[in-house]
């Protein structure tokens, strides 16, 4: 998989926490929207 602007972003599926619930999230769920994917070094740090 190439990581390059203009190429498809790597797909993924994983578990996520949102508003009290834990659920599966995958990148493909967000087709039709702009996605800001934010990596950060860890909880309890600033992001």
């Amino acid at each position: 998989m190439t990581l390059r602007v203009g190429k498809p972003a790597p797909e993924f599926e994983t578990s996520a926490y949102e508003k009290g619930e834990i659920r599966k999230v995958k990148l493909a769920d967000y087709r039709g929207q702009w996605v800001m994917l934010y990596f950060y070094p860890g909880d309890f740090t600033f992001v």
């Binding site: 990581l3 972003a9 929207q33 934010y38 990596f39």
Partner: protein
Amino acid sequence: MTAVAAKYDELKTLGAVVLAVSVDSPYTHKVWSEGELAKIVPGGLPYPMLSDPGGRIGQEYLVYDEENGVDIRGRFLIDPDGVLQAMEILAPAVGRNVQEMIRQVKACAYVRETGEATPAGWEPGKKALKPSPELAGKVCEIWSPEMAF
């Protein structure tokens, strides 16, 4: 993270969603979110916090630091077709600029809708360029650096 939350309404109007990712488990996300973030952002974060055990996703995006076992501060803008349009990776101790991220969403969306190009410092309302053979070598006639600020 909370800075992004503060601007989330603006992102939503642009048709953008935020996915935050770290190697922490969803349960750790929950504890941090409920214990600390909810005090900064009323109601808690308005977007999902993804769990990336072992940095599997981070490796695909070239932000996984094996030595420390964490995903470093990478930010990726992915368009409605799933194509990567922008990326930025910062040193761990350096925070991000949410305004610049929002500007890039607007610029990428404008380019996608119009087929035009947005020069340095472009913001909505500023002049964009229509790529054409006639424009080659003549950008200086219609654009100057002070228009970037």
